[in-house]
Subunit: 169 residues, 6 copies
Amino acid sequence: MPSSLEFTHLTAQGHAQMVDVSDKPETVREARAEAVVRMLPTTLARLMAGDLPKGDVFAVARIAGISAAKRAHELIPLCHALALSAVEVELNARGDDAVCIRTRCKLNGRTGVEMEALTAASVAALTLYDMCKAVDRGMCIEHIRLLEKSGGASGHFQAAPDALKEGCA
Amino acid sequence: MPSSLEFTHLTAQGHAQMVDVSDKPETVREARAEAVVRMLPTTLARLMAGDLPKGDVFAVARIAGISAAKRAHELIPLCHALALSAVEVELNARGDDAVCIRTRCKLNGRTGVEMEALTAASVAALTLYDMCKAVDRGMCIEHIRLLEKSGGASGHFQAAPDALKEGCA
Amino acid sequence: MPSSLEFTHLTAQGHAQMVDVSDKPETVREARAEAVVRMLPTTLARLMAGDLPKGDVFAVARIAGISAAKRAHELIPLCHALALSAVEVELNARGDDAVCIRTRCKLNGRTGVEMEALTAASVAALTLYDMCKAVDRGMCIEHIRLLEKSGGASGHFQAAPDALKEGCA
Amino acid sequence: MPSSLEFTHLTAQGHAQMVDVSDKPETVREARAEAVVRMLPTTLARLMAGDLPKGDVFAVARIAGISAAKRAHELIPLCHALALSAVEVELNARGDDAVCIRTRCKLNGRTGVEMEALTAASVAALTLYDMCKAVDRGMCIEHIRLLEKSGGASGHFQAAPDALKEGCA
Amino acid sequence: MPSSLEFTHLTAQGHAQMVDVSDKPETVREARAEAVVRMLPTTLARLMAGDLPKGDVFAVARIAGISAAKRAHELIPLCHALALSAVEVELNARGDDAVCIRTRCKLNGRTGVEMEALTAASVAALTLYDMCKAVDRGMCIEHIRLLEKSGGASGHFQAAPDALKEGCA
Amino acid sequence: MPSSLEFTHLTAQGHAQMVDVSDKPETVREARAEAVVRMLPTTLARLMAGDLPKGDVFAVARIAGISAAKRAHELIPLCHALALSAVEVELNARGDDAVCIRTRCKLNGRTGVEMEALTAASVAALTLYDMCKAVDRGMCIEHIRLLEKSGGASGHFQAAPDALKEGCA
């Protein structure tokens, strides 16, 4: 198995370490991720309907996601701190019982930004849950996953089409 | 529809607010949540096998989850800050292709701790993803949901058995 | 001069200290504050007009203000950490060249929440500045002040009417 | 109107986004800002007089301002995280009823540091308020504004002289 | 061995957990700690001498210590978040080659505040190191320890006199 | 005395400032530090012995140290924020009554990482204290110091052998 398929966050003794990236080049790196929040159809209907559709709900989730991307390294112990050059978080209703969250993060730097994109999606989903939980405590967050990444030595990654079918697409 | 089923985080104008809980009594509140991280069987096998089974991997995820529970109010804009009296995070292999994460939070206070338990599960899952992503970028975080909550005016909640079947059980 | 009019954050040696509040009773405390962001009339017009009036701008400022209230003790070195029971932040256009921000914080606790209300107003104003700076770098944040506080040994405070005239009213 | 005068923090749909700066060059950028804290003459007199003039008061405000500059991106949702190369915060009495705060931030990077300089001024002012509020709750923070910025595509900005007259100068 | 002498932060499986304190009573708890920063006599002389003795150096260390006490639960994974009711940090020269740091924390709550007092001492010492390192990189932080604690089920603790002799006393 | 031996964190007035590093080159910088936690022999014996030697204890301390390195600039007011490229924290028993902690931090950047390495060692030590305090409140953290640094204008530093003798070696 190639060395790129090792648990790089562990030393030979199995101890956690923050991987040394000081020899990696600074390049543009990008990652996209998604999450799905499944809810009762009546919850989604109330969220989308009315004269004041969803009020601040989607805006709050969007901002929470963007803010969380900037804090991924505080939440995930072995993540490198980095200075993201762009973050986007979008929410859309999907079918009659789900909201799909898609995120995109970019960096000029030495490490990938998969964790930032995944963290943005997760926290946007948690925030949506928080705002709707008074009406629907049985909501479930599904399919948090990486859709695509580019840049860096490990090359391009794209989620398999099958995987995507269960998600937002 | 009873007033308990309103979007309490929104004002009448649809504006985000942090709900006023100053009139609620201080009681013991508890919540349990879960998340499932699905991965390739070979990834799980490598994680569980060997002389040095999983090294620090589960410990790092556990601690990241506990730390994240304490920071839920920093991540989720309308969450109240609170002083948790207990946090537990456990990880277990499930079948040949998944790790199940179960969390439990307790509080003597005026608000429920669902978001803290859900945040702990989410961040433990993200941390597990981070530590294994070099060997398996297609991992997927599934079924982040509330299992049970007790204490507070909204009463006891328990996830439906069906829902549980897809999760850790 | 009564002892209540001392610089309580300084020891007799002039050294900073976090005041001992352990003997104070837990009571409901509340504070309201305001800030005004003055801008070019064309900036305000663009912010308020159109099919998509102000998009997320006011929502982002509102959420930033609420989140900042929870972090006042991290920003202001001698502020006590506390668990706010309610936070509200509202933004309204005033005249043709200003946005008025009003905040309200509540606590069941041992210290006042003036700094939390003032911090919420300040950070909401900074966030508004951030979102509009590409079109109007000369904006100015004015009149950050306490409007009213209640609860606690120092009693009720209400800003003088004169003072209010320059502000949002 | 040139594209540089758009609300760059909003997408075409009016949704908040963190602007993509990955194509901007790394250059030295600098910004200076100010704030004025107006207080009762007796408050200022007590702050400045005595054998132990102002004790730690100005030092605490200075340090709070410097620390806040480093956290601007945590407070302001769409601000990029960045690694400031210099921060200065100075406080001076002005006339008999005000303290003037001046800040300066520098960066080798891809985004301007206006928000960092403004945040430093705001939090230094809030900290001064906090330390004096036991003797003067009617203090007011005025004229938080950008004095000058340089570096970056949007070019040099200098506050108009009129504006300065009301401020510290 | 009594149960009070167990590693309470570990489950029976040796897994980290945040201890459940929800059944403990809210009482006044207090802890005092110390640290010693040993340096070259010339470094201390320069710190203490002159027309402008030590400038902001001791103030910065004091404030850093106070701020750190409020963040102990963010740094130490299994520490409970809590709302300190008082924090004091004092620095004094000792002999010709050391600065002694003494801290005191108080809480009305369910857990002890030893870690907060120790964290305040440690971070004040690190900050002193930071401010003096350009002139003396060989400084050493010694004797970070608990001096006394009171309140709570585990009773009163006082450091042994011998131990104290090596420290600040 | 050369200018490199000034208190660079102070202005000519003795005021705290964050030193301007914008003219320094980006180079690889590295620092190693250590701390010793002295405890009762029985405490160390219990920590190291058994079927489940030390459970998560060392892992929790390691992760706390790594996380703290990333936050040094939040704790130490005049530290520059920076994006570490590597962090390692190792703990080892030494003799029958001490645990030795060694840390290493790396950066491609404009400032040294001594404070990051020292902060990692300090917080790992505090975390170890936290996890063992229920069995041994008299533990003492000793010899937090810089072992070596390289990179940057101030050149290479190595702790004197004598100093090392009292520490981990």
